[in-house]
């Protein structure tokens, strides 16, 4: 779907043929023969990956294989070049009126280039037939920003992001973007941390004089100096109290701050998610997205509030301790550092494994949520087919995978922590040994050694907790990656760079040569349609013929793959999405109600609507009376997805919702398919008043619904096959006539045996929208 739509304008220079093709082709070209177009083919006849090239000159079409072998077709006025594609493979067929001359194949990667090649071929052949010179190559415009594209490029340098950005290893630092607004608090927090850490380092320092000036002299027979003891103990107490106070303040401020970052991250991600196109949601699993936004952001938040903080404290503490140690006795300090390199090495070993492990558990967690998000909404189907056991099995399986991933992780992790502890114990041992030796040599006093050991206890303790943070950091980094995955995804329905603002929409819709594909499946081809302001157009056709898809394109849920859609002559891609959709009232084939009251649901598109407006819209949609029959009237709560209302009731509420925003363009996709004929007639009457002055596009299988339409457009397999009003189409005796006849027969059949054949006009309308995603 990355294929850019291109409009032609102006001119561009002929692209240069790259090597080695250029050399291969030299012999085949006359000296004055210039290359008009070329196309790299990445598949051979047997559909194996292999490069070759197809070159078009003013006189011939030349295919040059990988090995330089050349085949040429001198241009003939009878030649036609056709492009097709199926399941990811495109083909170009060269044929004249009697037979196929050649066929070339390529992957869809080359599709835009191939279409360009075909266009150029047609231009040259047209010129040949009319016996004139073919003009220069028309330049191609980017579909999004309307800048001319470089001749041999398909992606617009101006607006396309590069697709293959390497992820930054420092994903966590990207969180800075969210921390920035809280710079001040962060700074205060940091200063407090510094002070608090400093305060906790005072007590061990005081053990030194306590030992050397009080205890040791006492052991040697001197009297204890009480005032000195009071002083030192007072110092210990004071530093403890100060450390407590500072620590409290710091933790509070930083926790506040990280909570806010977490909230910002969550809401920003959600906002970004909401702006994605339907294509994005179609490809993602709901549960996975939910897991990313809820639990991953929470992980990051916990990391920031608890662990990042601890980590900073640890680092500070270690640096300060190291400085103090070195100032007391550099040699002893050096010995203390012995386990450090080992620990660093260990961390290095374990880090990558942990990160990939956590990344994996994150994905697996998404899978678990997905199973829930799949099953709970579909619970009726599960129960109807008695598949509880199978769903439970599926959930158990997801959990098993989760256990497996976690077990693997825990194996690594469980070795790591004790190993660090062991290393620090050994370090302590070394310091003892070295210290005793130094005391014996009278290099240091017992007090110094005691202070040292007190410090080292903390130092190693910190090392231990710091190494523990490896796991949390990796967890947060993996989470951050998954969150930024969402944030980095540019919407495939992008906001225009140079938006054009619509003033007073008239409601003319033009579809020019529209083509659309879902993935590799072409669903719409060459759709040309102009809908005049105020006109009501009925779209009819078999199920799956692309009616809903066409409507999706008009609403800009997706962007066209080829061609353009214009509103009042302006390409919809250059209008800001939100602004554009304000003018559209849409009633979907599958009505969706949010959790809330009926009034809220009706006013969804216009929250500021007054009660009178809501009631008026409900009346118009013939929902008023049934709403009043509910115990709480308009204040009745409807459950998720409108459970508790019938299909027809839900449809009427969604009609009311569309009517309330008073849109210039009204789109009704099977809006009345679930109501009985009687009610439909009444809604129809109401709609008849409302469609006046609005451009209306109505899709219906029950053709009688469309009797008021100015024009009927008949679709079949992604193309418009017939157009005209009911009478003309019936007269023509074509596609529409057949549809109509079939329905008439059904209606007559019903009339004869009303009790046996209940009206089931909707039997075959279970559209794609209604199906659960099986991705």
């Amino acid at each position: 779907m990355l294929t850019n739509t291109m409009a032609t304008a102006d001119t561009a220079s002929t692209p240069l043929l790259p090597e080695p093709w250029h050399t291969h082709l030299q012999s085949a070209l006359a000296p004055d023969e210039s290359i008009e177009a070329w196309l790299t083919l990445d598949l051979d006849d047997t559909l194996r990956f292999s490069d070759s090239v197809l070159v078009l000159t003013g006189r011939q079409l030349i295919a040059c294989a990988t090995d330089g072998q050349i085949a040429a077709w001198p241009l003939d006025a009878a030649f036609e070049l056709h492009a097709h594609d199926h399941a990811g493979v495109g083909s170009l067929t060269l044929q004249n009126e009697t037979a196929r001359q050649a066929i070339w194949r390529f992957t869809l990667t080359q599709n835009p280039a191939a279409l360009r090649f075909c266009r150029r071929f047609d231009q040259i052949l047209d010129a040949l037939r009319e016996g004139r010179e073919a003009g220069p190559v028309p330049a191609v415009l980017c579909a999004q920003c309307h800048a001319p594209l470089p001749p041999d490029e398909d992606d617009c340098p101006a607006c396309s992001g590069s697709i293959d950005q390497p992820p930054s290893t420092w994903t966590l630092f990207r969180l800075w973007r969210f921390a920035k607004p809280y710079k001040g608090q962060l700074l205060i927090g940091f200063l407090l941390t510094l002070a608090a850490t400093g305060a906790t380092l005072v007590p061990p320092y005081l053990t030194m004089p306590l030992m050397d000036n009080v205890l040791i002299p006492y052991q040697n027979g001197q009297q204890i100096d009480t005032s000195l003891v009071v002083l030192y103990l007072g110092g210990l107490l004071a530093s403890a109290v100060v450390a407590w106070g500072l620590g409290w303040m710091r933790t509070y401020i930083l926790a506040l701050f990280s909570e806010r970052i977490g909230a910002d991250l969550r809401t920003t991600t959600y906002d970004h998610l909401l702006r994605q196109s339907l294509e994005y949601f179609g490809n993602k699993r709901t549960g996975d997205l939910m897991a990313r936004i809820s639990s991953e952001t929470d992980r990051i938040c916990v990391f920031l509030s608890l662990h990042a903080l601890d980590f900073a404290t640890d680092v500070l503490m270690i640096i300060m301790t190291a400085i103090i140690l070195a100032s007391i006795n550099p040699w002893l300090a050096l010995v203390t550092l012995v386990p450090l390199p080992f620990i660093a090495w260990l961390i290095h070993l374990v880090r990558d494994r942990l990160r990939t492990g956590f990344d994996k558990t994150g994905r697996v967690w998404g899978e678990i949520t997905s199973v829930l998000a799949d099953t709970i909404p579909g619970i009726r189907v599960v129960k109807a087919f008695a598949q509880e056991k199978r769903e439970s099995e599926r959930f158990r399986e997801a959990n098993r995978v989760n256990l497996e991933a976690n077990d693997k992780l825990n194996r690594v992790w469980s070795v790591f922590s004790p190993t660090v502890a062991l290393l620090t114990e050994v370090g302590l041992l070394v310091v003892w040994a070295f210290g005793i030796w130094q005391v014996a040599n009278n290099d240091i006093t017992v007090g110094v050694l005691t202070a040292f050991l007190a410090y080292i206890g903390r130092f190693y303790g910190r090392l231990d907790s710091m190494s523990r943070i490896v796991s949390v950091t990796q967890k947060a980094a993996a989470g951050a990656k998954r969150v930024f995955d969402i944030l980095d995804h540019a919407s495939s329905v992008p906001e225009p760079t140079n938006p054009i603002h619509l003033k007073g929409v008239k409601g003319q819709i033009t579809l020019a040569n529209v083509g659309f594909r879902y993935g590799n499946r072409a669903v719409l081809r060459d759709v040309d349609l102009v809908i005049q302001p105020g006109e009501m157009v009925g779209l009819v056709g078999h199920s799956g013929s692309g009616k809903s898809t066409l409507v999706n394109l008009m609403c800009r849920f997706y962007d066209v793959s080829e061609g353009a859609i214009r509103i009042d002559g302006v390409d919809v891609r250059s209008v800001p999405v939100g602004e554009y959709r304000k003018h559209i009232g849409l009633v979907l084939q599958e009505p969706f109600l949010f959790f809330g009251t009926i009034a809220e649901n009706i006013a969804y598109g216009k929250p500021e609507a007054t009660r009178d407006e809501i009631v008026a819209a409900a009346r118009a949609a013939h929902a008023h009376e049934f709403i009043l029959r509910l115990p709480q009237g308009y204040d009745s709560l409807v459950g998720e997805r409108g459970q508790g209302l019938s299909g027809g009731e839900r449809q009427r509420i969604s009609i009311a919702r569309a009517l309330l925003i008073d849109p210039k363009i009204l789109i009704l996709d099977e809006a009345t398919s679930s109501v009985d004929t009687e009610t439909e007639k009444e809604i129809q009457k109401a709609l008849d008043n409302l469609v006046r002055g609005r451009t209306t596009i109505a899709i219906a299988h029950r053709l009688s619904t469309l009797r008021k339409a100015n024009r009927l457009v008949v679709m079949d397999r992604g193309r418009i096959v017939e157009e005209g009003d009911h009478d003309t189409l019936i007269e023509r005796g074509g596609f529409y006539w057949r549809l109509y006849e079939a329905q008439q027969r059904q209606v007559e059949g019903e009339a004869l045996t009303p009790s046996l054949t209940p009206s089931m006009p909707n039997a075959h309308t279970a559209g794609v929208d209604a199906e659960p995603t099986l991705k």
Partner: protein, 158 residues
Amino acid sequence: MTTQAMDFTLSRDAFGHLSLTDAAGERHDHVQVVRAFPIAAPDEGISLLSADGHELAWITHLDQTDPATRQLIDETLAARDFMPVLQRLKSVSSYATPSTWAVDTDRGPTRFVLRGEENIRRLPGEMLMIADEHGIQYLIKSLPALDAHSRKLLDRFL
């Protein structure tokens, strides 16, 4: 359903399209051949569709066709079926998506861009289906049968 003594004949026209003449002697041009289960059972359930997508004939198993028809069907399918079987994953540009993969397939080496992890789908029987950004589908027939290096790379995305 359709009897195996086939009640239709196939032929190819000068444009390379298949034509089918049914038992009633009616001729259908532009016939398409599709597999009903291209992954699960490629040789079972072959359907011949008319240009407007209606089924003209159903072949329960390819074995049940006569050699000439079989050849026509095989040729047509060969030019249409494109699902490279991924045999080895040589390298990936990054562990975060989008990521460019260099792979060996049964149709030769190639590269493609994987847009998101959700484009890797598990199929029954340890099979995986990977869709690239252009919708080309790569099949991994058996995950455990891949070499260790490929498995290790792939594991980062599963």
